[in-house]
Assembly symmetry: C2
């Protein structure tokens, strides 16, 4: 009987008196991730917004979820549509919004003025890592292709969701979907009620603090009262438009990887030094997919 569970006995014996294993934080897992867990973001999918004050905000576009809107944004960038654009709306705990603020500036070639409502896409074809916790807004929640998503297996749809840093397309009342000239980024608690009601086109991968620290607008919905308050934008370009030596590059963690599965598990079960009660669950928007700069 003494030899019945030798492996367990040995393992137990090893632990007694030994240094206990370090309890990993999510950051530890990201730092230790193998190169194979990372995917480079294509330069065509990086929208680089330089503010006139020197701040840079970089958005990763999501062509797999809103292809017509993303193609519009890429066409607008290539046509320098945003010359003279500004950040004109910053609402605390909600969004910062930029563009030409409903000007009637004509659309350049290649822009679809009235895109379809790309608020969901077919679930079919997506590989999904489930969140493993209940989601108040959709039957299913998880990650696919590096993005947080919600989905319904029964109805066959999936959608990108509104988390901190999510970028979407401003629109007027339905059925308008917005062409892509006016964009917003979430700077507060995830406004998930917007999911499936507006086109999400990406997420901020660098410099969200350049938007989240802007003064809040005092008009309704956080619009700035005076044009003098508008925050000037020096340029909005695709990384692919920039000289090769100046292009920033980023990689995101493959959400199908074993490393991401461990990261997700630890996000839901923090047990490192500070924590005394792991939650045993986690909100979709509280699991930010790791993104890091390559160059």
């Amino acid at each position: 009987m003494g030899m019945r569970y030798p492996f367990l006995l040995t393992a137990s014996a090893l632990l007694i008196g030994a240094v206990p294993p370090k309890l990993l934080t999510p950051n530890d897992i990201v730092a230790d991730a193998p190169a194979s867990a990372w995917r480079t973001i294509p330069a065509n999918d990086l929208l680089v917004m330089d503010l006139a004050n020197g701040g840079r905000v970089v958005v990763q576009l999501a062509p797999d979820f809103a292809p017509v809107h993303v193609a519009n944004i890429q066409a607008l960038a290539r046509a320098n549509y945003w010359n003279g654009a500004t950040v004109y709306r910053v609402q605390d705990n909600y969004v910062a919004q930029w563009g030409h603020n409903e000007s009637d500036k004509p659309w350049p070639a290649g822009v679809t003025p009235k895109p379809p409502a790309e608020y969901t896409r077919p679930l079919n074809g997506l590989k999904i890592t489930p969140l493993g916790s209940p989601d108040p807004y959709a039957p299913g929640a998880g990650f696919s292709g590096g993005w947080p998503i919600a989905y319904s297996a029964k109805e066959g749809w999936a959608d990108l969701v509104h988390c901190y840093g999510t970028v979407g397309v401003g629109r007027d009342l339905s059925p308008d979907t917005g062409a892509g000239g006016e964009l917003y980024a979430v700077i507060g608690q995830a406004p998930r009620q917007l999911d499936r009601n507006i086109a999400i086109v990406g997420r901020v991968v660098e410099g969200i603090d350049r938007l989240s620290t802007l003064p809040r607008g005092t008009e309704a919905l956080g619009f700035y009262k005076d044009k003098a308050q508008y925050v000037p934008i020096a340029s909005i370009r695709l990384a692919s438009q920039m000289p090769a030596g100046e292009r920033p590059s980023y990689e995101y963690m493959d959400t199908d990887s074993a490393t991401f599965a461990r990261y997700l598990h630890v996000r839901a079960n923090r047990h490192d030094d500070f924590y005394i009660r792991p939650a045993g669950g986690v909100d979709l928007c509280n699991v930010q997919v790791p993104v890091r700069k390559k160059s």
Copy 2:
């Protein structure tokens, strides 16, 4: 048969050709709330922080959830403990933190240096309005006494939760709970993993943007690198310490009221003009309990 459902027939007839009823937004419900739906916050439970730059941040304390920590904070305010204090940590999408940054300034009289771990309280005695949507962090979620809470009926506990604007007490590693000299406010996505791991003592009811717009610290955890970056605090007082004519006063919506139930329902089912797909559910931290200034 024509008279079988006269009321329904009449109502239907009235709708045809008539102006459809306005679909209410959450703000509409708040604006129309009767006086009976509001509760005044006691002046002893309002902590008024005036920044040296003129900004004011007001915190409602929660003595029903963390009585010893709240009593400490009230004693610290009365003793002018925070003279010379600063905001010394601002981490994007997480927290802003203020106090004396781990100085060894002695505690004034009336402060319990090592408070108990008031991370939960007995569920017994609380009247709860359930959220009605699943919560990833706890068996139950809802509202009680004007606060968002999580709870376990089985285990008999309830706790305040970390939402945007929640205020808690900084601490070192467990079993330390912090005395209350160092406070933080959430300025990003709800860090619910902190629930039941740290003492929550209140929420910001005015001026959270004075914290959320501060420059982010560049050191680990968002600490400012240089003391020159610290944001000076002119004073932290209870409203009850201020001259009667200068005291700000606030009221919150009674979360047991029929008005709040309607507000909660509409937050989970937005169907006003902009929305085409109501979510049918809502996150606990996406239902901010309405608070408004009285004077």
